[in-house]
């Protein structure tokens, strides 16, 4: 029992000792617990910033410690993150640590606590976790009213492809809040009753002005939002290189890649920094793609550059190391000069900017003419370069360009320096190519000279004029010089029939070309009448022309031809060929289809005399005739007719006329012998006859049916085809007896016509002979005169009672034959027997005058009053009548007076009466005064009355009247 008591006391003491020790150890352990923990927030980085200290470090001044943090959200028990932080802690040191929250701190309350332990192997006894500090609550202050809606974070900057969490806090029911990412509805996670969060993963870059996230409370105007910015990922600078042009400055360039700058000053564009490791110098670059680095005086040969691009998220670098002399990019050469040493050689000189005496440059020189590189040279130099260009063409513009590079360590060529220069002129180097045409006219030769302009290669300058020297070979002392100014290409000379030698030279400002010589012989050498025309066929590439080789002294051949212009002017072309040539392909871009070309082949003798060898003509391509012949019909009979087209010109067609085709369209649809039946696509049938001879321009169609219609059409044809389609001409063959009818009817018609004409011409004669006018005695005025005397013997007329108004002279053996007035026929012998009437008229001028109106008138007067000549042309013999002669001063006066009065009386007639014939008689002015009539003239103031006897239309002035007239005349 005592043992048990002792043992119990011993155990108790031991426990107490252990307990004491343990208390001491525990006291040291407690002292490592973090104290004075303070937590603050940084909204910009969404960070919780912790600050604490370890008040006493046991045994040590410094101790490496490990801290463990726990972060809870919303409530302490909701631990969202646990992490360690290791650091060496000094006595009384205030420790700092930061934690970035994914969720904006404004949207939730956070709690933080911390514990620690020693992390030093020397003090394993201290490697026991201390107690946790008390929870520190972190709450970002914001006033949250009942209608408040706040979105966080503000102006958050993230890198493209990263994640961002956006949240809102509100005192409003979450169900009433709708949120949008730009214009898309988005749903989040509710954190608590006031907050919701939206996690966006792998966010893209949309625009520099940021991406808008906003929420609105439905049915209200309450809105809130936030803009977050997405930066593009910074790229590494590409193509980083440095070079110098003057050994004073290094210019470094690179391709910067995308600009990561953002609006609203959220992130500037990335910056670039150049660092040279050997010198340790650093330089911020002003430009985003280049930087100039000053080369120090103590020549540093090797450079090690690091280019660093940086933005808020990252840095990207590029590095190069190089020897300075290997990075020489010379500036473009300057002071390029050209020294003309003659017509063809030119000395080119240039300079380069100084690059130090130790550097040799290699320069590349190019000479270009007409856009093509003619010469290429390489020249080594230091400062001044020279190069001689040879074999240049006079009067030619060249372009020379030069560039240089480091000869030993090639890096880059400089820019080209380009200069143009022109070589001076020289005398033309070749005689002009000359040809001629000779025409003999009026015992003289018209010589037309043609020459081709010298090529630029041979002209050696601008041709100013051509000298033409005409030398008479028969009179060597006489020669003429003609200076023809350029750009003339020919001239015309009129020479007599002597032999001439013509020298043609081209001249520029420097000198004269060699002369072309042409001999014009006495006989002109054309011999056109001796040479036959030969037809040739052109091909696509021209005319192949061959000729017989000439034995003897031919030194060359010339083929000439005309290229017709629009104005039909002959643009003479020629081709000179060697003496051994017997053929040539004459090609020209101007050959046109359908145009006939005439080629003359001349041989040139050793005496330079040209004589015509052959004459060929052809078309480069024949065309069908332009028009068809105009056909005339001849010899039309009932069985045949002939067609002729003599005027058709075969020479003016665009091809050789090979013949003609006659198309005949018969209604019988059967072709005549020799015709070929042709059925066209429209089922029309023609008979075709081909005339092979182009000279035959007549064709007779025979074996036709009388009184039948035939349609024909004639066209010509060439190797290219027939002429254009024309209209068919219709021919109708006559009846077989129709010619007989014509033979009978025609003479008959002619006979009738002749008879009618004869009758017409002799109508007066016939009338007088066959049916003369007979007056009507019952209508005589004498009868009325008798009545007025109331003579009971009315039917007996005493001759003495009559006052003769006409005297008929019968069988007067002699007398002067005269003519009727004006157009009347001469009075014939037979007509003398006719009654001759003598008219006795007063001198009054007007019929209305009350003068004497005694008139002896022919009763047979029945001419139409409209026939003015009928009255005027009264048959009055020019001989004086036996009585009343004294009344008439002269026959002419009498006739004139008569005509005048009669015309006056006509003028007073009504128009409708002018077509009538008047037959009137004159009554005695005073009855019973008949005795005094022969001696006494009529009383002027007393006019006898005219009485209308009858009015007869001219057409009815017919036989009875005439017969009566004749009878009456006889009675009187």
């Amino acid at each position: 029992m005592a043992f048990f008591a002792v043992f119990q006391k011993t155990l108790l003491l031991a426990f107490l000792s252990w307990r004491t020790f343990q208390s001491e150890v525990l006291a040291e352990y407690v002292s490592l617990t973090p104290e004075s923990l303070k937590v603050s927030t940084n909204s910009t980085c969404q960070c919780l910033q912790l600050q604490w200290s370890i008040h006493e470090l046991p045994h040590h001044q410094e101790l490496k410690m490990l801290f463990q943090m726990e972060i809870s959200r919303v409530k302490p028990s909701n631990v969202i993150w646990v992490g360690n932080y290791s650091t060496t802690v000094k006595r009384d040191q205030v420790l700092h640590w930061s934690w970035e929250s994914e969720l904006p701190l404004e949207c939730a309350t956070h709690f933080v606590r911390i514990q620690s332990r020693a992390d030093d192997a020397k003090f394993p006894e201290l490697s026991i976790w201390s107690n946790w500090s008390s929870w520190e609550e972190v709450h970002v202050q914001h006033s949250l009213g009942p209608n408040t809606l706040l979105v966080f974070p503000k102006n958050k900057l993230v890198e493209e492809g990263s994640s961002i969490t956006i949240c809102y806090i509100s005192g409003i029911n979450h169900n009433n809040i709708t949120c949008y990412l730009h214009d898309k509805l988005i749903y989040g996670v509710q954190l608590d009753s006031k907050a919701s969060a939206f996690k966006l993963n792998n966010v893209p870059f949309i625009r520099k002005s940021g991406t808008n996230f906003f929420c609105e409370v439905n049915q209200t105007d309450i809105k809130s939002g936030a803009t977050f910015f997405v930066s593009k990922v910074l790229e590494e600078p590409k193509n980083f290189s440095c070079e110098t042009q003057d050994f004073k400055t290094l210019k470094c360039t690179w391709y910067p890649g995308v600009d990561t700058g953002l609006d609203w000053n959220i992130q500037p564009s990335q910056s670039y920094t150049l660092f040279e490791s050997f010198s340790g110098k650093k330089q911020n670059c002003k430009h985003k793609n280049s930087c100039n680095w000053k080369i120090t005086q103590d020549v540093q040969e090797t450079y090690n550059f690091t280019l660093t691009a940086a933005n808020y998220f990252r840095k990207r670098s590029a590095n190069i190391i190089f020897n300075l002399t290997h990075r020489v990019h010379p500036m473009a050469p300057h002071s390029v000069r050209f020294q003309r040493l003659g017509a063809t050689p030119v000395l080119m000189s240039w300079k380069v900017h100084a690059l130090g005496n130790y550097l040799t440059l290699q320069c590349q020189v190019e000479l270009q003419g007409d856009g093509e590189v003619i010469q290429q040279h390489s020249v080594d130099m230091k400062v001044n370069g020279k190069l001689l260009f040879g074999e240049l063409v006079p009067d030619t513009e060249y372009m020379a360009r030069v560039r240089c590079a480091n000869a030993k360590h090639f890096w880059k060529w400089s820019e080209w320096t380009v200069e143009n220069f022109t070589t001076p002129e020289a005398a033309p180097s070749e005689a002009p190519d000359v040809w001629r045409t000779v025409k003999s006219e009026n015992r003289s030769h018209i010589v037309t000279l043609f020459w081709k302009p010298l090529s630029k290669l041979h002209a050696n300058g601008k041709i100013l004029f051509y000298n033409v020297v005409v030398e008479n070979l028969d009179k060597p002392s006489t020669s003429e010089l003609h200076a023809i100014p350029a750009p003339a290409r020919g001239m015309k000379l009129t020479l007599d029939q002597c032999s001439y030698r013509i020298h043609i030279t081209a001249n520029n400002s420097v000198g004269t070309s060699p002369a072309s010589v042409i001999i014009v012989p006495e006989d002109s050498g054309n011999r056109t009448e001796e040479v036959e025309e030969e037809r040739i066929i052109g091909k696509e590439d021209g005319f192949f022309i061959s000729w017989k080789p000439q034995s003897g002294d031919v030194i060359s051949y010339v083929v000439d031809w005309c290229e017709p212009h629009q104005d039909l002017f002959c643009n003479l072309q020629w081709k000179k060929l060697g003496p051994n040539t017997t053929f040539s392909l004459i090609s020209s871009d101007t050959f046109r289809p359908g145009v006939r070309y005439n080629f003359r082949i001349y041989g040139i003798s050793t005496k330079k005399t040209a004589y015509l060898l052959e004459y060929k003509t052809g078309y480069s391509q024949e065309l069908a005739p332009l028009d068809s012949p105009q056909v005339a019909i001849a010899n039309l009979t009932s069985r045949s007719f002939a067609m002729t087209w003599k005027d058709y010109s075969t020479e003016s067609q665009p091809g050789f006329i090979q013949g003609y085709r006659v198309y005949l369209k018969a209604r019988a649809r059967q072709c005549h012998p020799g015709f070929e039946k042709v059925v066209l696509s429209d089922d029309s049938v023609y008979c075709k006859y081909t005339i092979d001879d182009p000279r035959k321009k007549t064709f007779v169609v025979e074996n036709l049916q009388p009184e039948s219609s035939y349609e024909f059409f004639v066209t010509s044809y060439t190797g290219a085809g027939e002429g254009p389609n024309g209209t068919f001409t219709e021919v109708t063959t006559p009846d077989e007896h129709s010619h007989m009818m014509i033979l009978i009817i025609l003479p008959m018609i002619l006979g009738v016509l002749l008879t009618m004409l004869s009758c017409y011409w002799k109508s007066d004669w016939v009338k007088e002979k066959c049916y003369p006018d007979i007056p009507d005695p019952y209508k005589s005025s004498i009868l009325s005169l008798i009545k007025s005397k109331e003579n009971p013997h009315l039917t007996i007329m005493s001759v003495k009672d009559c006052i003769p108004d006409a005297i008929e002279v019968i069988n007067k053996p002699e007398g002067t034959k005269t003519q009727l007035l004006e157009t009347r026929k001469p009075v014939t012998e037979n007509e003398v027997t006719k009654p001759v009437y003598l008219y006795l008229l007063p001198e009054g001028k007007d019929s209305s005058d009350p003068g004497p109106c005694i008139c002896f008138e022919n009763f047979t007067y029945n001419q139409s009053a409209t026939d003015s000549g009928s009255c005027g042309h009264v048959s009055v013999p020019l001989e004086e009548p036996p009585c009343q002669l004294g009344l008439l001063p002269s026959p002419n006066n009498l006739l004139k007076t008569l005509e005048k009065n009669y015309m006056n009386s006509l003028g007073e007639m009504p128009a409708e009466e002018t077509s009538l014939s008047y037959v009137s008689q004159l009554a005695s002015p005073i009855p019973g005064d008949k005795d005094s009539l022969p001696t006494n003239p009529p009383v002027p103031a007393h006019c006898s009355e005219y009485k209308m006897q009858m009015a007869v239309p001219p057409c009815l002035a017919s036989l009875p009247l005439n017969e009566n007239s004749s009878h009456s005349s006889m009675t009187l």
Binding site: V151, K154, N155, Y180, H182, D183, I206, R207, K208, S209, G210, T211, N212, F213, F214, E216, K223, G225, A226, T227, F229, D259, G261, L262, D263, W264, N265, I266, P268, S269
Partner: protein, 238 residues
């Protein structure tokens, strides 16, 4: 004594230079009243169009959604209303427009600074247009016998202008910029309205007859003589 003389000379020189510069500035105001008024009307009409600035801004800032467009409303009182402008005398109207545009210019400059690489070219165009309008207002004020800068313009509500600070909420700043520009366009529309009223209302015009109308014959011969400030010959009651 000599120092006083020197000071007087210097003062005279400065005054002379000021007058000369003013006269030089006035030489640009040679257009007739109607032409100037017509130009102002056209300028107002041009700047009233939201497609000249607001719409590009909305698209650039990603505000082209119905909800955000709905939020882009003019701050009440930020710019003088049409009725307020119509109630002003011509001179007060010109002063108010001039002062408002001055502040608009400042706002545009502030906005321009927020944008990298001058992305919104229309901002620069708008600035130039406003500068042109202000010049014409200056000339119009002179023609009407006053200055556009001497009197206080009409006051607008406090805090209604675009203020972009370093700690701004970009989302809010975007909307503020949008509201500011909308107000600017609306204001220019109201200004154009008033200018059109000037052209259409003879009675109103008679009340504020332009200076040139009083001195038709004098204007060309004396008003713009080199080195002389154009002196108004008649002053109408305002």
């Amino acid at each position: 004594m000599r120092a006083r003389l020197t000071r007087r000379t210097l003062f005279s020189l400065v005054l002379g230079l000021l007058l000369l510069s003013t006269a030089a500035a006035m030489r640009g105001c040679m257009g007739p009243y109607q032409h100037l008024l017509s130009q102002l009307q056209r300028q107002a009409h041009l700047t009233e169009d939201t497609s000249s600035l607001l719409e590009p801004y909305i698209h650039l800032q990603g505000l082209n959604t119905p909800i955000l467009r709905g939020s882009c409303t003019e701050h009440p009182g930020a710019f003088p209303s049409k009725d307020a402008l119509r109630g002003l005398s011509k001179r007060s109207f010109l002063r108010t427009v001039n002062a408002t545009l001055d502040r608009v210019l400042k706002g545009l400059v502030a906005l321009q600074k927020q944008l990298l690489n001058n992305d919104l070219k229309e901002l620069e165009t708008a600035r130039q247009n406003i500068q042109g309008i202000r010049n014409n207002i200056h000339c119009m004020s002179w023609l009407l016998g006053g200055s556009s800068e001497t009197a206080e313009p009409m006051q607008t509500g406090p805090g209604s202008w675009l203020q972009l600070t370093s700690t701004l909420d970009v989302f809010q700043a975007k909307l503020e910029g949008c509201r500011f520009l909308r107000g600017y366009h609306r204001f220019m529309g109201s200004v154009g309205w008033v200018f059109r009223e000037w052209g259409e209302s003879p009675s109103r015009s008679r009340r504020h007859s332009p200076r040139w109308a009083l001195h038709k014959g004098v204007r060309r011969t004396r008003l713009f003589r080199r080195g002389k400030r154009p002196v108004p010959r008649g002053q109408l009651p305002w």
